[in-house]
Symmetry: C2
Subunit: 193 residues, 2 copies
């Protein structure tokens, strides 16, 4: 039988606390309470709150990778179908609580990237990885003739990632996924034409 | 001679502290230290940190309104010139520190809109006001024949506001204004065509 370690409990429960309340708002006390472990456990397993923050970004990235693999990188589907599926899946996941928490990567960027250089570099590498998946899918769309042959794939991938972050942010304020659908419509009807 | 009150000092210095370090990260102690006033001054003038947060959003809005009036709402210039001037001015203001602090409205949305319903409603009303200024300018662009007559002015204004938020967020992570310029190029070359 597998045994969930206190470390894993802290990471899993801690990610939820941080995603819900924000990184700065989430105290170590809140995190250990949510994990149901003694307070000393946190300092046993993490050198600092920053070290913990970097690890939960990795945890969040693992879930994001799973979405990318099932959508943008799924070679069995047509490229633009994959692109639409990726945007829809991301929206539906965040919409489980009416967009209330928003994208954790965007939240971290807003509140922690100016304070911690390690955090900022971690976020940049995550955004780069997501952009690369969009670029891969757009390259396939060019090859399949689904988008113009002269589409700047790298620039368009970067535009999608940044625009979805903005859509998620306004969706969080409105508690409504309309901004994501608005961007998707513009992307398919104008930007990829 | 005009006399700066402790209340004004707290608002002015506090806005800088919050914009630089984030709302949750900025303690009342940091704010009064930056303002050079006794700690008791804060509680004399603000019922809570939330009440203070709502007021600094109003202060930030006043500066934003000034930009909107000098750009989007400046009837002496052609509409698309005004639109470009607005995006450039916003970028240059945030780029004074290499985009490091980001847009305070976006930062507040990311870290405080899920925690405070009053804050969320305040941010929504600010975003609405900014959107209305973009819509006003786009309507003028339609009338001047600078953009297609069937452009959905309200939807496009909402798209601009959300996409600039995302551009500012990625620019903050990269400490580089390229994401803003990337969106501007797409806006003028594709979305408004």
């Amino acid at each position: 039988m597998s045994r969930v370690s206190n470390r894993d409990r802290i990471l899993e429960a801690g990610l939820q606390v941080v995603h819900e309340h924000g990184y700065a708002n989430a105290s170590v006390r809140d995190i250990v309470a949510a994990a149901g472990v003694p307070q000393g456990s946190f300092t046993n397993h993490f050198a600092s709150k920053e070290a913990f923050g970097l690890e939960i970004i990795d945890h969040y990235l693992a879930a994001t990778r799973d979405v990318l693999e099932k959508t943008l990188l799924d070679e069995t589907r047509q490229p633009l179908q994959r692109l639409e599926a990726c945007i829809d899946t991301g929206r539906d996941l965040l919409n489980a609580d009416c967009m209330r928490r928003g994208c954790m990567l965007g939240n971290f960027t807003a509140e922690a990237s100016a304070e911690s250089e390690q955090m900022r570099n971690k976020l940049l590498s995550v955004f780069d990885e997501i952009e690369a998946a969009y670029a891969h899918c757009l390259r396939a769309a060019v090859q399949a003739g689904e988008v113009p042959a002269d589409l700047d794939v790298k620039e368009t991938a970067a535009l999608i990632v940044q625009s979805l972050q903005g859509a998620n942010l306004l969706a969080k304020a409105h508690r409504d996924p309309t901004p994501v659908d608005r961007f998707k419509k513009t992307l398919f009807e104008k930007i990829l034409k």
